[in-house]
């Protein structure tokens, strides 16, 4: 018994050490990115401290800011979870962007063309989004599994195809008015209520909607699946080592295809919820980049469910903060993407933080370990 406790404490210590090192490198990455961001702002003739302060106050400093953060983060949580699921199964799904928008347009169609009571209509519309996203992920998935074509090229290609397909749909068959390229409004039975609809005092002046609860539910479900079910275990194992998993009796085909389709489906639900909660109709090119930002948020969150959720919330907050900044100080909101990108670069660069270790070793008088790990890319 004592030995078990001892080994447990030992492994805990080792894990704590790892966690400490990891969080240290994350904090340093953020600091470094903030520093480089400051240099850019100084070049842009802005006071960095003032800008960062305004960003944070804009995002988290007022109830209105918080509601906008919530609204901005909702779709990003879906695309980030979608990316994480794919990344963890070892598939680089950079087609989340296209899957999101195809999900949005299929949901819009079911939303305005079908007449049903809310109880059926709303779930059906969201499910249509899931099917749209999954269908859009289907071609790259099959091309990878059956032909071995890299999903990175094919998913990017399907993004472009999705953009043009939707432009055609909103310009011709689904167009509602001759002046603007947009679809009719979805039926009231299919919309997700905004907080202001429920109580005019909650979230005044924002478009925050109850979709955030669906996002939280998704996070809970995915966390449970990943941690507690056989399916989640298989997804994680396949991502870690596909050969080993196959040897262990996991069907690679089933796991990959299932993971990728569900990843696409989740992105599609995100699109559906953005339409049903915020826009209520599809306007051609109403927004772009939800999928790519989801990819980034997933990478920022270390490709874990909780990590990418927090990253999506953070990203949403930064977007909400940068909106005000763009109006007041004229700072382009792309600055946020730049800082987030920098954080990811520094976080991913594990070897950069070896410098810290080397200093420590040198101080301890130990020789610096030279690795050949960088040989294997």
């Amino acid at each position: 018994m004592a030995s078990v406790t001892a080994s447990f404490t030992k492994s805990l210590q080792r894990n704590m050490g790892y966690l400490f090192k990891r969080s240290l490198s994350i904090i340093l990455s953020i600091l470094l990115a903030v520093l480089v961001g400051s240099l850019i702002m100084i070049w842009y003739k802005q006071d960095p401290i003032e800008i960062y302060k305004q960003l944070l106050i804009g995002a988290f400093g007022s109830p209105r800011g918080l509601f906008i953060t919530m609204q901005r983060a909702t779709p990003l949580i879906f695309t980030a979870i979608s990316s994480t699921l794919a990344f963890r199964t070892g598939v680089f799904n950079v087609g989340v962007e296209g899957q999101f928008f195809i999900g949005a347009i299929t949901a819009t169609f079911v939303g305005y063309a079908v007449h049903l009571p809310t109880v059926i209509h709303l779930p059906l519309t969201i499910f249509a989004g899931f099917l749209g996203g999954a269908a859009w992920a289907y071609i790259p998935t099959i091309m990878r599994q059956k032909l071995g074509v890299s999903e990175i090229i094919t998913t990017i290609m399907t993004n472009y195809i999705a953009t043009f397909l939707i432009s055609w749909l909103t310009n011709y068959p689904m167009r509602a008015t001759p002046t603007v390229a947009e679809t009719p409004f979805v039926q009231p039975t299919a919309t997700l209520p905004q907080f202001v609809d429920i109580n005019p005092l909650i979230g005044k002046g924002t478009q925050a909607h109850v979709g955030i609860f669906l996002a939280i539910a998704l996070v809970a479900i995915m966390y449970y699946i990943f941690k507690r079910t056989k399916l989640g275990y298989e997804w994680r194992m396949v991502g870690l080592s596909s050969l080993f998993s196959e040897f262990g009796g996991i069907s690679l085909n089933k796991t990959f295809i299932g993971g990728m389709l569900i990843s696409g489906g989740i992105a599609g639900i995100g699109g559906a919820i953005e339409i049903l909660g915020v826009w209520r109709k599809y306007k051609d090119l109403f927004a772009l980049g939800f999928g790519f930002k989801g990819n980034l948020a997933s990478l920022l969150g270390g490709q874990t469910i909780l990590g990418s959720t927090f990253a999506a919330l953070f990203y949403g907050g930064m977007e909400s903060g940068s909106l005000g900044l763009e109006w007041s100080a004229g700072v382009p909101r792309q600055l946020i993407d730049i800082v987030v990108g920098l954080i990811i670069f520094f976080m991913a660069a594990e070897g950069m933080w070896d410098l810290l270790k080397r200093v420590k070793w040198a101080r301890a008088g130990e020789p610096v370990r030279r690795t050949t790990e960088n040989l294997e890319v």
Binding site: F92, L147, M157, W168, E350, N374
Partner: protein
């Protein structure tokens, strides 16, 4: 429609000199993006950051040309950005052990935002920027060659980056197959452990390969912003970095193959422009063409490749059985 009618239609819309010129012109960025993919692929590296490198190259070419009113400075600006982005990419993914695909995804998204930010920060313009100060490349008429009937108009009258892409195809082929450095690169790509044993500095070769890929991609950007258009448009790479990867796949890593398969995409783009003018089908489907063709070509190529491999395996098995 009788045969002469068909030939007439084909000549008018498909096989004429203007279309061949368009094909060679529009193939240029794909050729350069293909070389970007090729040089890293041959070094055993999966570089998916070509798209972002093209965008940076295009932006810095415009900046150089705008501030110095010289296309040469624009070209140099583009090349320097390629070296810088390639160098940073190599530093992070090779030296600092960042996952190269993660880095690639992040760089591509980063480049989109960064170039939009830079355009807004420097010129206070969103969307697209063009200005009389930007000096692009003028068409060059090659002496003697331009007077040859038929071949003259096909080979002469392009802007400098078009010729540069042809020269680079030849130089890359010579480098790969005729120089010791090329041999080292291929050795590193095929078996890094063996190459290391032979005393080749694997890390250095890969580092330089990534930097070279940055320059190739940046040149594709230079062509887009100074040779094709004269200015910068947000997201003007339009997936060409990835099409370049596909082109390299078809070519199996051979420079001449990259050139030939790029022509297919140049051709598709040109036909797209013609169809656009004819207003037969909605423009959105025409804009989709390059991406659809990439998917279709990848599928056909891989199916044929796999079939060929299977036939070969069967042959070997049959020979063994006979022996």
């Amino acid at each position: 429609m009788d045969l002469t009618g068909l030939i007439d239609v084909l000549q008018r819309y498909v096989f004429n000199i203007a279309n061949i010129q368009g094909m060679l012109r529009l193939a240029t960025p794909i050729i350069l993006a293909g070389l970007c993919a090729l040089i890293t692929d041959r070094a055993g590296i999966l570089n998916i950051a070509g798209e972002g490198m093209i965008l940076f190259g295009a932006w810095f070419a415009v900046a150089g040309s705008y501030f110095f009113e010289s296309n040469v400075v624009g070209l140099i600006g583009g090349i320097l950005s390629g070296l810088l982005v390639g160098g940073l990419f190599a530093l992070f993914s090779l030296k600092f052990r960042a996952n190269i695909i993660v880095m690639g995804i992040a760089i591509n998204i980063f480049a989109t935002s960064a170039t939009i930010f830079l355009t807004r920060a420097v010129w206070h313009i969103a969307g697209s920027f063009s200005d009389a100060r930007i000096q692009g490349f003028d068409p060059i008429n090659l002496p003697i060659i331009k007077d040859i009937p038929v071949l003259g108009p096909i080979l002469s009258g392009y802007t400098f980056p078009v010729y540069l892409s042809w020269i680079l195809i030849i130089l890359t082929a010579i480098f790969l197959y005729r120089t010791p450095w090329g041999l080292h690169l291929r050795a590193v790509g095929e078996n890094p452990q063996a190459a290391e044993t032979l005393g080749i500095n694997v890390g250095l070769v890969r580092f330089l390969a990534v930097m070279a890929s940055g320059v190739f991609a940046a040149l594709a950007g230079v062509y887009l912003s100074l040779g094709h258009l004269q200015g910068f448009v947000d997201n003007m790479a339009a997936g060409r970095g990835f099409i370049g990867m596909a082109v390299n796949t078809f070519a199996g890593g051979a420079p001449l193959g990259v050139f030939l398969s790029s022509l297919l995409f140049g051709f598709v783009d040109t036909i797209g422009f013609r169809l656009q003018a004819e207003r037969i089908i909605p423009i959105y489907f025409i804009s989709m063409l390059p991406y659809l063709v990439t998917l279709a070509a990848l599928t056909i190529f891989t199916v044929r490749h796999q079939r060929a491999a299977r036939v070969k395996m069967q042959k070997v098995a049959a020979e063994k059985a006979a022996a």
